[in-house]
Amino acid sequence: MIVFDEVAKRYAGGYTALAGVSCEIRHGELVVLSGHSGAGKSTLLKLIAVIERPSAGRVLINGEDVSRLPRSAIPYLRRNLGLVLQESRLLFDRNVFDNVMLPLVITGHPPRDAGRRVAAALERVGLEGRGKELPAGLSGGEQQRVAIARAIVNRPSILIADEPTAHLDPAYAADIADLFRSFNEAGVTVLVTTHDGALFAASRPRRLVLAGGLLIEDTRPDGRPAQEVAA
């Protein structure tokens, strides 16, 4: 379970990205986080992965306050998260296989088993047999699929994705959205930010809407509000 407890984030210079956000995300939920640019969506995800730390409030993952996690413990938290960023952040001097393999190398996974996992992850995102290709030779959608394969290869219990479809045309974006839905159906907690609210509509996700650093909408998959939020 992920809990945001009165979380605020103010940057040096006075810009407020989040102004007291509270919500609980239960295990196995598919959550779509939307809002305009600067609403605080990316910041919220960064707080989960401890890429940023809150100025106030707490972020708890399975009961542990990760906002106060010592620096040395952060890598171990991230190993249990699947992280997909707006840009694919692939290593362009390595082939697809090696890119997807990277999280397993980091955790010191035995090479033979790691190879099997990479192959399975690539198959999962529809890139089976493409392991030897370099990322530069792939389309934007395929690159994002490689990034998703890299995020799931460690079999994380939580998958967070920051605008994974931002630079993709609608057909590719729909494919990516389907992938996230399939991971969620497999039991993974998925938290995705997007500008395109309609993209995940078919998946009937829980919807969180941010505006100006405040949570202004929290709707369950059945359409009922999950909590009273700021007007």
């Binding site: 992965a49 890429i51 040395s72 890598p75 171990y76 938290l77 991230r78 190993r79 992280l83 960023l85 952040r89 692939l90 290593l91 990277l102 999280p103 190398v105 980091i106 955790t107 010191g108 035995p110 890299r150 460690n154």
Partner: protein
């Protein structure tokens, strides 16, 4: 343990890839490091050769006390009695003038002495004092030099002592040179690692996001620095070896003109290992400093 070994093996592979990925840069860095280290390495080798030569010539310092040529047996006995009373004296032997003449003749100078007629050599005592303190030698020589019938006192190993003093000075100079050039090696590695970090910035950031720990990120750079240093050490060894091959015959020829046999020897395996290990250590140190400076908080 297995995981630790795997991660180190992976770090070594990563470092080797980086080294082989830029062969020109790697060769140039190894040459810079190697040539810099070959200077103190060569100096150390030269001193080692000279020290070995000095050890072969004389190991125990002695004092020779020559009586005047008119001294009688009774004078020698009186002198012997005074010598025995010296607490600083460990042992002594008397070399009679006839014995000295025989020794000189045996050394090949018999023809020269044959033309002189009477034995011109004096009786002598060869003293071995307790300890090797130069001050003690000087004090004893000075004291005995004032006794009656003593014509001359000579501290036989004075030149060896001077040579040892020179060798000590040389060793200090080589150490200083090694320190200075070692510092240069650390700077070279520091800069190389800085550039490595810059070129691998994206990989470092991505790895951190995927859960890489600080040791995981830093390890390949440490190995890179160590391997680059070791390569430089090998170049230094090669340079020293080439120097020995080039100068060896000339040095042997020079020694021959003095009637001596002297072969300039290269570093033995211990010295070779020490040079490579020293270079690797300096490379590693440069990498540690650079990584701490450039990866702090990244």
């Amino acid at each position: 343990m297995r995981n630790w070994l795997y991660l180190h093996a992976r770090a070594i592979a990563h470092a080797l890839r980086s080294l082989l990925g830029q062969p020109v840069g790697t060769v140039l860095s190894a040459l810079v490091v190697g040539i810099a280290l070959s200077l103190p390495g060569g100096g150390y080798l030269l001193l080692d050769n000279v020290a070995a030569l000095a050890r072969g010539v004389s190991g125990t310092p002695e004092i020779s006390v020559f009586l005047d040529t008119g001294a009688k047996k009774a004078d020698a006995e009186a002198l012997e009695a005074r010598l025995k009373a010296l607490p600083e004296l460990a042992s002594y032997r008397f070399v009679a003038r006839d014995e000295a003449l025989q020794q000189l003749a045996a050394s090949g100078l018999g023809d020269v002495l044959g033309g002189i007629g009477d034995n011109p050599l004096p009786d002598a005592f060869v003293l071995s004092p307790r300890g090797e303190d130069p001050a003690l030698f000087e004090r004893m020589a000075s004291e005995i030099g004032g006794w009656p019938r003593v014509a001359h006192v000579q501290v036989d190993s004075a030149w060896v002592k001077r040579l040892h003093a020179l060798l000590t000075l040389g060793q200090s100079a080589v150490l200083m040179l090694a320190g200075l050039l070692g510092f240069a090696l650390v700077i070279v590695t520091f800069n190389t690692i800085r550039l490595q970090i810059l070129t691998q910035r994206q990989e470092i950031e991505v790895s951190r996001l995927l859960g890489a720990t600080d040791p995981f990120i830093r390890r390949p750079f440490y190995w890179f620095g160590g391997l680059q240093g070791a390569l430089g050490g090998l170049v230094a060894l090669g340079t020293v070896w080439l120097g020995v091959q080039a100068l060896g015959p000339a040095v042997a020829h020079l020694a021959e003109t003095y009637g001596a046999v002297f072969v300039l020897s290269g570093p033995d395996w211990r010295a070779a290992l020490a040079i490579v290990a020293f270079a690797a250590l300096l490379g590693w140190l440069g990498a540690v400093i650079s990584v701490r400076r450039h990866l702090a908080g990244a």
